[in-house]
Symmetry: C2
Subunit: 118 residues, 2 copies
DNA sequence: TGAATACTGAACCATACGGTTCAGTATTTG
DNA sequence: CAAATACTGAACCGTATGGTTCAGTATTCA
């Protein structure tokens, strides 16, 4: 048995699994945004958007601050480094496996040509 | 309003948001595995593991095949390319934003030194 | 053939998710 | 001060998730 558990990745991958939330990130890349502006853009109630922003916040992808009556969201400094690292590491291993297979296949073909028909 | 929706990414990010499922991928990188062997390794019932494998399958990350009474799981050929691309693209934009900020700060400092005390 | 193995499916459970409405509260603005 | 704006919180709803147990079914082994 092995104990796998990495809450930060749990939270951020879960946050990224929703199209609206990915959209919010895409929007924040172009500039900070209020709850109202996001609600307009994504055709959703303020409450709905607020919940999405909270999910992104809990995942550390977004930070918000309230000035007067307006809450502004912006991208968190933490960024997507940890997520990129997990994905990249495993992507390489995924591909390594298929490359290994390719290599075996190539080797087999090599052996075939080493052994010309007699 | 913009319509954001990308079911494949929804499914794969959701699949990756669970530590057990990331663990299963980590295991499959080292070789194909039966439901029973995964259940042993992750201290979970066969039924529980089977559900996780199904989630990974629906996301296209894993494929399975049953031979005799044993179902073997292996990594899907599709890999993590789309996920890596989304993350990388947005990571760069995340960082570009902070770099831009850094640049503005540097420019301000530049202007300060352009204007020596009189 | 009979027992052991490996999985499968249905049912259930508690909790979380994605969304809404509705009734506030706090902050501008005229 | 009154009205408009921007958000907030509670409550609710239907569905999904992560897990279990239990009762099969299909395969393999002795």
């Amino acid at each position: 048995m092995v104990q796998y558990s990495n809450a930060p990745l749990d939270l951020s991958f879960a946050a990224l699994s929703d199209a609206t939330r990915r959209g919010i990130i895409g929007q924040l890349v172009r500039g900070d945004a209020s709850i109202t502006s996001l609600a307009d853009r994504f055709q959703m109630t303020l409450t709905g958007i607020k919940k999405h922003v909270q999910v992104l916040e809990r995942a550390g992808l977004v930070v918000t601050q309230k000035v007067g009556r307006v809450r502004t969201s912006q991208l968190g400094k933490r960024g997507l480094k940890a997520e990129a690292e997990w994905i990249e590491a495993h992507r390489m291993l995924f591909e390594a496996r298929f490359d290994a297979l390719d290599e075996i296949i190539m080797q087999m073909q090599q052996e075939d040509s080493d052994e010309p028909a007699r």
